[in-house]
């Protein structure tokens, strides 16, 4: 069992729209796996299915050896939603401490989680008074405070300045080196190069599931954005046949 997450033939409908059209993929343990694709491609829906909050049509999602959404997984999986979901009328520290208790941790862990996302100086500020980027880092601190085995991060670096973004990616790799598995979504292709593995989805279908180097080798281009374009065109041509 080397995969933290394995998804098989996953189909999800939202309303009358089919959002995921039979996706199969895996997230190996101890890696940073990037989930890339344009806005509306189904990234968030796939992440919600892995966390176990999405009603699925058919297919299976196995997380750390258990069916997604199993009660036991709630203490082993950390989830960062795309829109920062923290309490605007509490301070950063109060938010982190609350989520720390939910995960059976204490004040020291909460303060460390706040410092780790670079908010030590804003710890006593109300979240409602923070900038968008700070608010999303406060939300990230609450997702990481329980030191989960699997971390699902929906666009964690949006709106962060370049230095902070680099810091966050360093931290993700440090966590992976320590054994944590991370699935990180992004619609910015330049972040793809920072991942150990890539999942590219478009219109609810998986187009690539490989390492960045292998994607470059298959397509014969160095630039990942260009490589993805070629993969998308190739998959469209196949669909037309």
């Amino acid at each position: 069992m080397d995969d933290a997450v394995s998804v098989r033939d996953l189909v999800v409908d939202r309303g009358r729209q089919r959002v995921l059209q039979g996706i199969s993929c895996a997230v190996p343990r101890g890696t940073v796996t990037g989930l890339l694709g344009p806005s509306g491609s189904g990234k968030t829906t796939l992440m919600r299915a892995i966390v176990g909050v999405q009603t699925v049509g058919s297919g299976t999602v196995t997380v750390l050896g258990r069916p997604a959404g199993a009660a036991e997984l709630r203490r082993r999986v950390g989830y960062l939603t795309q829109a920062p979901s923290v309490y605007a009328d509490l301070t950063v520290r109060e938010n982190a401490r609350y989520f720390a208790v939910l995960h059976g941790r204490g004040r020291a862990e909460a303060d460390r989680a706040v410092a780790d996302v670079g908010l030590a100086r804003a710890a006593d500020q109300l979240v409602g008074t923070l900038s968008g980027g700070q608010r999303s880092r406060a939300s990230l601190a609450c997702a990481l405070v329980g030191d989960p085995e699997l971390v699902i991060l929906d666009e964690p670096t949006v709106g962060q300045d370049p230095v902070l973004r680099a810091d966050l990616w360093d931290r993700f790799h440090a966590m992976a080196a320590a054994g944590t598995t991370l699935l990180v979504s992004s619609h910015v292709m330049d972040e793809a190069a920072r991942c150990d593995r890539l999942l590219l989805i478009r219109d609810g279908r998986l187009i690539a599931d490989d390492t960045p180097d292998a994607v470059r080798a298959t397509t014969g281009v160095d630039d990942l954005e260009e490589a993805f374009l070629r993969l998308i065109r190739a998959s469209e041509q196949e669909a037309d046949k």
Partner: protein, 251 residues
């Protein structure tokens, strides 16, 4: 249920309230201001010898009604905010149990309701000379219970509201029929049979009856305790129903 998580959730909700000073001020001041209005409305009304004054009769019921209506509104909005800001979905991905969350709200806002009715009853008794045969603390207990009932109903109703506009409109739907039919305007025994039947299934009717028992008898009566038990039962039923409406998975 996990007591550490329940305590942390209760503390978190009270902390949110504390950061919102204007809301705290309004929670404290509004019932007292309304009681002042009630006092001056009835101060010159003639009293029938041997019967409680109109102010005593109305103010006693209002001490139970104000925390009910205010806590219902505060809870509906607070829970809707949990839903719309995504914190509810996030909480449900953590080890927190649904009951921990709902009881957390019940305890936190229940405490706020008890504080509110303690202050309002202090003013009613000390400043406006409210006179009841029974103890002031029984009145505060019933008013506090009313606050918890309102929290439970608010949690339940917020499940059926998608927007703030909808949530606010549950107030006239849920609270006003209970006020109209509770026996304040027309004694319940004098209503048409079908109105009585509706009144009989509305929990506030029992809270009002319990308050009237305190108003009329020096010692707590069996009817009062039965009514208190019914209101407490309705509160637990609403909380359990509210838990059933919380889904960890959604479309």
């Amino acid at each position: 249920m996990n007591f550490r998580i329940l305590a942390a959730t209760t503390g978190r909700i009270l902390r949110q309230l504390r950061h919102d000073r204007r809301t705290v001020a309004m929670l404290v001041v509004v019932p007292t201001v309304l009681l002042t209005l009630v006092y001056f409305m009835y101060v010159d009304q003639p009293t029938v010898p041997g019967r409680p004054s109109v102010f005593d009769r109305v103010a006693l019921i209002m001490l139970g009604f104000f925390p009910f209506i205010i806590m219902f509104l505060v809870t509906s909005i607070a829970m809707l905010r949990e839903r719309t800001t995504g914190t509810l979905e996030r909480l449900l991905t953590t080890p927190l149990g649904k009951i921990d969350l709902l009881f957390g709200y019940g305890i936190a806002f229940g405490l706020a309701g008890v504080l509110q009715s303690t202050l309002a009853s202090l003013v009613a008794y000390q400043v406006f000379g409210l006179d009841t045969a029974g103890s002031q603390w029984l009145v505060v207990m019933i008013a506090g219970l009313n606050a918890v009932l309102a929290v439970a109903l608010g949690l339940l109703c917020s499940a059926f509201a998608r927007t703030e506009f909808q949530a606010v409109q549950f107030l006239p739907v849920v609270a006003l029929p209970q006020l109209l039919l509770c026996g304040l305007f027309v004694p319940r025994g004098e209503m048409a049979g079908w109105l009585q039947a509706i009144s009989d299934v509305l929990p506030l009717s029992y809270a009002v009856e319990a308050l009237q028992e305190v108003g009329a008898h020096a010692d707590s009566t069996g009817t009062m305790w039965r009514d208190v038990a019914i209101v407490a039962g309705a509160t637990v039923a609403a909380l359990v129903l509210a838990a059933a409406t919380l889904r960890r998975r959604s479309g």
